[in-house]
Symmetry: C2
Subunit: 340 residues, 2 copies
């Protein structure tokens, strides 16, 4: 199993990408193919005391800045570590790809260079978000790749999310929910009404509309919505959790008595923090692309990169894409049945 890693993507590249790659080689026995400036990679590895055994390097002279136009990935940044990684992926030089670089450039690059799975309308970001009920986590798709969506896209997000959560997270018959303003079938706008109809007929365990207040309690295993709404869910979950954590820390720091209290619940709080740590689940899959592609968080550290590499390897090994293709074929078959 060979995972391609964009060595220059993310706020902490290339130190943390190189360290994460080395950790993944050692822990999982995978080969990692780093893309980026070869000289810098070798120098940083030496400086950090990281051995490069099990790691290959493919030289890429530039790095695409986060603020660059997404489409520049096939133009002035065609030789960037991100673009070169995607080219290696499509050429079969690696089984899966990981980057913590620009999300927009990744969507454009993966779509144009690697291409989508046949029949898939749009690729979408699908992070796995920790929650306190259900299976302890849920996939949110799309979390921001597509601001505007059509009903068929949401239905396909359901099929892709179902295959992923089943294969990678081991959840049998994952519950697919449609994010909406109410649970009744008649709720929402044209997008939700159309998606509801399609999801009912799709080969997934569709549980109907899900109100956002139920998401943190694990009401479904895959929550589908347009990318604008998904981005709100992703970022607001992060924000409210952070605001709560900040306030509670403040309460514990008030005086000697409360500081003692903090010691008593330290373990419980630590476990809760670990349970809510998104980096435990790796990065966000870019589902819909013809080869396994993972977007790691921009602020990823070595551990997060290691986890994302493991996730990418599972993505390839467990043939999630084959499973998605099966789901699409089922829909095609049932549509043909209806015509007959």
């Amino acid at each position: 199993m060979k995972v391609i890693l964009d060595a220059f993507g993310g706020d902490n590249a290339p130190v943390e990408t190189i360290k994460g790659a080395a950790m993944a080689v050692q822990e999982y026995g995978v080969t990692v193919l780093l893309t980026g400036d070869e000289e810098i990679i070798k120098r940083v590895a030496k400086e950090q005391g990281v051995t490069l055994s099990g790691i290959e390097i493919v030289h890429a002279p530039t790095v695409i800045p986060v603020c660059a136009e997404s489409t520049s990935i096939t133009k002035e940044y065609a030789d960037s570590s991100l673009a070169v990684g995607l080219k290696l992926l499509v050429e079969g030089k690696g089984d899966a790809f990981v980057t913590a670089g620009s999300s927009g450039a990744l969507v454009v690059g993966a779509t144009l260079i690697v291409k989508r799975i046949k029949g898939i309308k749009r690729a979408g970001f699908a992070p796995v978000i920790p929650c306190v009920g259900g299976n302890g986590k849920y996939m949110l798709m799309d979390s921001g790749a597509n601001i505007d969506c059509r009903p068929e896209m949401l239905m396909q997000f359901g099929i892709m999310g179902s295959a992923y959560m089943n294969k990678i997270m081991g959840i049998s018959n994952p519950k697919i929910g449609l994010i909406n303003v109410g649970v009744e079938e008649s709720k929402g706008g044209e997008l939700q009404l159309g998606a509801y109809e399609l999801l009912k007929k799709a080969p997934v365990n569709f549980t109907g509309n899900v109100e956002p207040r139920e998401l943190p309690f694990g009401a479904c295993d895959v929550a589908v919505c347009d990318g604008f709404s998904g981005n709100i869910v992703l970022k607001l979950t992060e924000g409210v959790a952070k605001a709560f954590t900040t306030q509670i820390k403040g309460i514990f720091m008030q005086n000697f008595k409360t500081k003692l209290a903090a010691l008593a619940v330290k373990n419980g709080m630590k476990n809760f923090k670990k349970q809510m740590d998104y980096t435990e689940h790796g990065g966000a899959a870019l589902l819909g692309i013809a080869k396994p592609t993972i977007k790691a968080h921009g602020s990823s550290n070595a551990k997060a990169f290691k986890n994302a590499i493991r996730q990418a390897a599972s993505f390839a090994q467990l043939d999630v894409i084959g499973e998605i293709e099966k789901g699409l074929q089922e829909i095609k078959n049932s549509a043909q049945e209806t015509v007959k």
Copy 2:
């Protein structure tokens, strides 16, 4: 000052509406006009030992169910406590109106019976949400009245929210933020791009795009968005907060030591809970309607109704609607200037 209260709206009506009305009369010296079945109101008041001095009753024989078609408010439920209340409002029999009944029926009823402020495209729900930074609260508009919005509507939400937060909450020059997937001006879809352009020129303190992760930290005083997105923000904030509270309670209940720790931080937690209690800020204003209209939470108790009545009275007394009309006039004038 006379506030009309739908005595039969909400899960706890009419017991809690009647109690809340009596509390408001006593505490704020307002007159409350209750709409609903007169016989039942009198009987319940007697049973509960609530005096009806300062309270008037206008008989309305039916109650519109939450599940009824919204448009039924002008048809089979034209004699409901909600519809009768709105008619009294438009006839000037009261200065403001409060209901905890059906949101959909309220939007339709208020729009058709009371009508919108001249020039306002759509009315929207505008709850005030507690947060941990900034001014400790922000207005979210629209939180669910309009699934689909146009840029001009979002700009008007900004004007209305600005007037409200200034007059009712005493925030001078409120910061208006546009909820978006990134802070850069180029972010979002057609709706956000269009709204950004209009808000820049509007007579409000527009601070640009706001990412949802910054909302709980009080990044702006009024957050504007379409009703679908706003409903997600409202319900997800509630859900994540509840999930956190549940987990932390669990951590404190683990053993004797953690239960002792709970005692030490009890006051701090209690204050935080009060700070985060949405009922402290009353209900959601239905901004855009030509007369002050408040939607109280469906699960309101007497205290929440009392607060909503106080809020409705301030809404009328401080002439928020006059302030909104001024804002609209400014835009009209500056548009005429541009033409000249």
